[in-house]
């Protein structure tokens, strides 16, 4: 199942500003493994993960048509 990945802040320096499609990822761990292979600079960067705008922790199953966002530390205000 394809997953759309969007990134923000300093992660755009690595992955750009356009959504990246990963063709098949069963869960967030699988997804991050694939992204780390494609973008080695991502490996040690700090970020949290949001699936469909909800922050998730740990191993989260992707059900298809998800949008996964990688969110580096917030800096609003």
């Amino acid at each position: 199942m394809p997953v759309q990945v969007i990134v923000f802040g300093q992660l755009t320096d690595i992955m750009g500003n356009s959504p990246v499609t990963i063709e098949n990822a069963v869960d967030t761990t699988d997804l991050i493994d694939q992204l780390n292979q494609r973008y080695p600079a991502l490996v040690n960067k700090p970020y949290i993960i949001a699936v469909d705008k909800q922050i998730v922790t740990g191993h989260t199953t992707l059900s298809g048509n998800n949008t996964v966002a990688l969110l580096p530390p917030f800096a609003g205000g």
Binding site: F8, G9, Q10, A50, A69, P73, F74, A75, G76
Partner: protein, 148 residues
């Protein structure tokens, strides 16, 4: 009965003008149950970092998520404090040093609620809203802002 407040857009392109703040204050003169207003304004600082001066911060956000989160924060603040009203505005795009990028405005009958709600809202905005800032230096190089 559950009263639903509709998520409001807090984002504005470019800096927040003093005249916009004045209009916002002025609009409260008919709400004669208000005794105190508390306002916080965030202003872009011309920090000097390793010899380079910040001339602007360029803000971006995960807007849809930020608006949902801000709606939750607003509901929580209204549940916790006896506020008459609350207004929040955050800039997107390039904001020059000296310009206003955040405007939080709370009002209540007695001052304590407005003051405490304003402070708590500012802290939550900084900690919880998916917003990023690129600090742009005089030579157009940049670094990503980190909140303390």
């Amino acid at each position: 009965m559950i009263t639903e407040r509709k998520p409001k857009n807090i984002f504005t392109q470019g800096p927040i003008a003093a005249s916009f703040i004045a209009d916002s204050i002025q609009k409260h003169d008919t709400k004669t149950n208000i005794g105190g207003h508390s306002i916080f304004l965030g202003q872009v600082r011309a920090d000097v970092i390793e010899g380079s001066k910040v001339v602007a911060i360029e803000y971006t956000a995960y807007e849809e998520m930020a608006l949902e989160k801000m709606h939750q924060i607003r509901e929580a603040i209204f549940a916790k404090y006896p506020l008459v009203c609350m207004h929040v505005h955050h800039s997107l795009g390039k904001i020059a040093a000296g310009e206003i990028c955040l405007f939080v405005f709370t009002s209540s009958e007695h001052r304590k609620a407005a003051i405490d709600a304003c402070t708590e809202t500012v802290e939550r905005i900084k900690a919880e809203l998916p917003i990023w800032g690129k600090e742009i230096f005089e030579d157009e190089s940049y670094q990503w802002k980190e909140n303390k």
